[in-house]
């Protein structure tokens, strides 16, 4: 019975019906994100992989065959393939050693390696550094990077001007880097003792 009722929407999905796709992506994106987060606890990487999976699916929508399975099974097949590719990519790259402190000096010029971001000590250090910032600085960083709000929306939310948002963001980024440096320096000293 379920299969019979699913068939028309499968056909519409295969035809690229925008409403069916919107509903499908809205339902599947959080599930895909959860799947990637379970594999690597790294929100940025999870977002990157979700984005890749969704665009792979869109580019290959013509290859979806309703008789071979549901759209859910199909997109999760693409996601599993992207996990395999990521594993292969990591295996081909040299192992990343060292803690976050080694990368703070080059934060302006090099991308932080995913392996460093996925370490528990990095997550703990960032949590701790963020909690030491002023509440306004914490709020602006969270609004910008976690909620993904624009400067205009943040300004509205915080009842300040857009210019003030930009300068607050600038100060917050500097403060976070300073706190991270302090944290990692004190951690290293503790380890030496």
């Amino acid at each position: 019975m379920t299969n019979e009722s699913e068939q028309p929407s499968r056909a519409e999905f295969a035809e690229g019906d925008a409403d069916i796709w919107r509903e499908f992506l809205g339902r599947e994106i959080p599930l895909l994100y959860g799947m990637f987060m379970k594999r690597w606890p790294n929100p940025s990487l999870a977002e990157e992989l979700v984005q890749k999976t969704v665009f792979d699916a869109v580019r290959g929508w013509g290859s979806y065959d309703p008789s071979r399975g549901s759209p859910e099974e199909w997109i999760f097949g693409i996601a599993r393939n992207n996990i395999r590719l990521e594993i292969r990519k990591r295996a081909s790259q040299p192992t990343v050693n060292g803690s976050i402190s080694n990368y703070l000096e080059v934060i302006d010029t090099r991308a932080l390696p995913n392996e460093v971001l996925e370490r528990e000590e990095t997550v703990a250090a960032v949590h701790s550094a963020l909690s030491r910032l002023e509440s306004k600085e914490q709020a602006v960083l969270r609004a910008k990077y976690i909620e993904g709000l624009s400067a205009h929306d943040i300004a509205k939310q915080m009842s300040i001007t857009e210019k003030a948002v930009h300068s607050l963001l600038y100060r917050a980024r500097i403060s976070l880097r300073q706190e991270l440096k302090k944290m990692t320096a004190s951690n290293e000293e503790e380890q030496k003792l």
Partner: protein, 120 residues
């Protein structure tokens, strides 16, 4: 020129730094769900791409059917010409056979007349 290069590298460093800070701050997001803004923007971009692909595919189908139509017409014209040629050739062949028969009959008749005249 040098100033432009400096400006460019400054902009690159700002975007790299911004990207790295973004990745660090996202680590503190306790939720196992993606941000609403991320999800909405991804859906909109994906649907935009899907629309473009659908339009391109429709155009491709139209182009293919145009080619098919042209080739179909060309094949029909060729088949028609072939049929006319076959009819004309067979008619000519029939006329040729008829003429041959007339010639043979005329020659035979003439011989018979000649022989008849000389033997009698």
């Amino acid at each position: 020129m040098k100033r432009e290069d400096d400006n460019l590298s400054y902009r690159n460093s700002v975007s790299r730094s911004d990207e790295n800070i973004s990745r660090l701050v996202k680590l503190t997001n306790g939720s196992n769900k993606p941000g609403k803004a991320f999800t909405e923007s991804l859906i909109d971009n994906a649907l935009g791409k899907l629309k473009k692909l659908k339009t391109a595919r429709k155009q491709e189908i139209i182009n293919v059917s145009r080619w098919e139509k042209t080739i179909g017409w060309a094949a029909m014209v060729a088949a028609g010409c072939g049929a006319v040629l076959a009819i004309v050739a067979s008619t000519l062949l029939k006329i040729n056979l008829f003429l041959e028969a007339v010639v043979i009959l005329t020659v035979s008749f003439n011989w018979l007349t000649y022989l008849g005249e000389h033997t009698l």
